[in-house]
């Protein structure tokens, strides 16, 4: 239930978590933060046509995804899941290449990663997660599907249909809503009737959990419980991680037109990385020296990924035709010849 933290105030604790876990969480969140910063810079330099920042949402993403098992679970992301991808172990040059517009879905192998393609249709991948989860039950497997979506996406019919299907089939799926309080320019109170996505769960007979999305430990614990329940046949859970989109919607956006930056500032001051760092030191999970070392490693890794994506080769034009079908057609071969003769020249 909404704690005072969820209004953008208050410290967090990690006493209930293992030091090993919190160190891993910190490393991933820090790396994601640095990579985010690099990405914004790449956009300013014209290397990325646009970028959607995850800044401030690292706890919501890393906390949730770290409760999954990349060997048997499957993640269905939106377009704003960079920190999730990183923490889940996705090959990040391939992931970031979607932001350089090298390939819409990204260049990592989604089946190998068990992390679906970047998906720009708000709400669209949520039923995929349910289908995957139903398929997992039918196979007798114990994998869990993770469906990411935003507060804005919760308005889409697909999300409702997916929750209802999941309830009827008792599918092992986590509906993970990152409520960052904005859907582009539209705030929660003009978007989410009733004010809470977690509260919708009850209407489907499902458990719904509202968690402080800037408290990585809280997110991790809530998700781990939901994953355990799902794995044991207990069915779906709706998790709403309340956080805040401190950056513009994307690098093309101009939030000055629609919101008061004072509110954003309050949330910026409650940075999930700062909160985690303080809590770790307080709990004795790490000292400044350790954390500084991790910071340096994170920065170095972020730079390597940045360099990798900035220099990745552009796809060859023939790839236009390669992946349309598994079994291609004569018509497409003909069009490919036209392309060779008239475009590639």
């Amino acid at each position: 239930m909404p704690s005072p933290e969820s209004t953008g105030r208050g410290a967090i604790t990690v006493e209930h978590l293992s030091p090993e876990l919190t160190r891993g969480l910190y490393r991933d969140m820090r790396t994601a933060r640095d990579l985010d910063t690099e990405a914004i810079a790449l956009q300013r330099q014209g290397v990325f046509p646009a970028y959607v920042s995850v800044r401030g949402q690292e706890a919501a993403q890393v906390g949730g995804v770290s409760a999954l098992d990349p060997a048997r679970d499957f993640v269905f992301p939106t377009y704003r899941e960079m920190a999730s991808a990183l923490a889940y172990g996705v090959e990040m040059v391939g992931y970031m290449s979607t932001h350089r517009a090298l390939w819409h879905g990204g260049l990592y192998d989604v089946m190998e990663s068990r992390f679906g393609a970047v998906n720009a249709v708000v709400g669209g991948p949520v039923p995929h997660a349910v289908g995957w989860a139903i398929g997992e039950s039918l196979r007798g497997g114990d994998g869990v599907a993770m469906a990411y979506f935003g507060d804005g996406a919760s308005s889409e019919g697909d999300v409702h249909e997916a929750m209802n299907f999941a309830g009827v089939f008792g599918a092992p799926v986590i509906f993970f809503c990152q409520n960052n309080q904005w859907a582009l320019s539209v705030p929660n109170h003009r978007q989410v009737a009733g004010g809470s996505i977690a509260a919708r769960a009850e209407g489907y007979g499902l458990p719904g959990v509202l968690v402080d999305g800037n408290d990585v430990g809280a997110v991790h614990t809530a998700t781990a419980q939901a994953v355990e329940r799902a794995r044991e046949g207990g069915g779906p859970t709706v998790i709403e991680a309340l956080t805040y989109r401190v950056e513009p919607h994307s690098t093309s956006d101009d939030p000055g037109r629609y919101r008061d930056e004072a509110e954003a500032d309050r949330w910026r001051r409650r940075d999930p990385l700062d909160l985690l760092r303080a809590a770790m030191i307080e709990a004795g999970h790490a000292d400044e020296a350790h954390l500084d070392r991790v910071d340096a490693e994170a920065a170095a890794r972020a730079e390597r990924i940045r360099d990798g994506v900035a220099t990745a080769p552009e796809p060859h034009g023939s790839e236009l035709f390669t992946h349309v079908f598994r079994e291609s057609t004569e018509e497409l071969s003909r069009q490919r010849r036209t392309w060779q003769e008239e475009v590639e020249l």
Partner: protein
């Protein structure tokens, strides 16, 4: 009806038996469910009821409710679920109950099913066959007589097929479900109850080939689904006046058999394309363009289009004034012959 299906069931696969299209599709689904444990059938009312047209009759009983099952009433989720099932190794065969109720699922079909293989550069293929009772002619309620083939054919990443008789329905469905690409399998409702002696055979013709169902030399009639039979009626009548019409069943609406169209029209010099969908931007325009592009010098007259009118599909008494009539096709034949 049940007895008929039972009788059909007891015949061995190679025998020639009399079957309706609805029974032939049922047989194909049975073959597919039996041969590949990854095949799943689901949709609204396909389980205990066996579908509103009884196409999946008996299949839940035979294969269990893990292989053949009902979903809640939500078309978008049905197709979205198919995507996720495919990504978990299944071969989904969803049904959407009627053509007009594919519209709520169009986003999932176009934005997800059709391009997931592309989006993932081949990592996540979508071996999904959407079964869609389609087209008109049965005096059904609103939204139960629509022809969506132009929309599907225009969508990169989809293959589209419409059988016109029970034997075709059988082998084309085997081919569709075994294909690793998503296929929209459009079942002409008006043909469901047409009983014909058929040989249930393995597919032999490649995907994307048409077939000549009646040879002729004065003009080619191109059609699919129930309109193939309309064209055969017309050919019969024309033959009485000594006009020999070739009837080409296009069947694959994507990819279209451009070579087959060209081969026929190169001989006949004239073509009429007949479909139920409205004229403007219908698939007839594509067929007409393909023929003209390939046979420009051979053509003795512009390709004629005889189609539904550019009006919403009407209710009962007007249906037969909306759909291409024998007369309209005959007029078109006359126009092309006298051009």
């Amino acid at each position: 009806m049940t007895e008929l299906i039972e009788r059909a069931e007891s015949a061995p696969e190679t025998e020639t038996i009399e079957l309706s299209m609805q029974q032939a599709i049922n047989r194909a689904l049975r073959t597919l469910l039996a041969e590949d444990p990854r095949v799943l059938l689901f949709g609204e009312d396909v389980g205990a009821l066996g579908g509103v047209f009884r196409v999946s009759d008996g299949l839940q009983k035979e294969f269990g409710d893990q292989r053949v099952f009902d979903t809640p009433l939500a078309e978008s989720a049905i197709m979205g679920m198919a995507v996720g099932l495919a990504m978990n190794g299944w071969r989904p065969v969803p049904e959407l109950q009627f053509d007009g109720f594919a519209y709520p699922a169009i986003d999932q079909i176009v934005n997800q099913v059709a391009r997931m293989n592309y989006r993932t550069r081949g990592a996540a293929p979508m071996p999904i066959t959407l079964r869609l009772p389609s087209f008109g002619g049965i005096q059904a309620p609103e939204h139960h007589g629509e022809s969506l083939e132009a929309l599907f054919a225009h969508t990169p990443g989809l293959k589209v097929v419409a059988p016109s008789d029970p034997g075709e329905a059988y082998s084309l469905l085997l081919q569709s479900v075994r294909s690793d690409d998503p296929v929209v399998y459009m079942e002409p409702k008006a043909c469901y109850w047409d009983r014909r002696p058929v040989r249930l055979s393995e597919p032999t013709d490649p995907i994307g080939t048409s077939r000549v169902v009646r040879p002729g030399r004065h003009a080619t009639l191109v059609a699919w689904g129930a309109m193939v039979h309309r064209c055969l009626q017309v050919a019969e009548l024309a033959a009485e006046d000594g006009v020999e019409l070739e009837v080409l069943d296009l069947r694959w609406l994507k990819p279209i058999d451009a070579a087959g169209l060209a081969a026929s029209v190169a001989r006949t010099k004239r073509a009429v394309v007949v479909h139920e969908a409205p004229l403007t931007a219908g698939l007839g325009a594509e067929v007409s363009s393909l023929i003209t592009e390939q046979c420009f010098r051979d053509l003795a007259a512009p390709v004629q289009r005889v189609t539904g009118f550019d009006v919403p599909y009407p209710a009962g008494p007007l249906e037969h004034q909306y759909l291409p009539t024998i007369d309209r096709v005959l007029f078109a034949v006359q126009r092309t012959l006298e051009y």
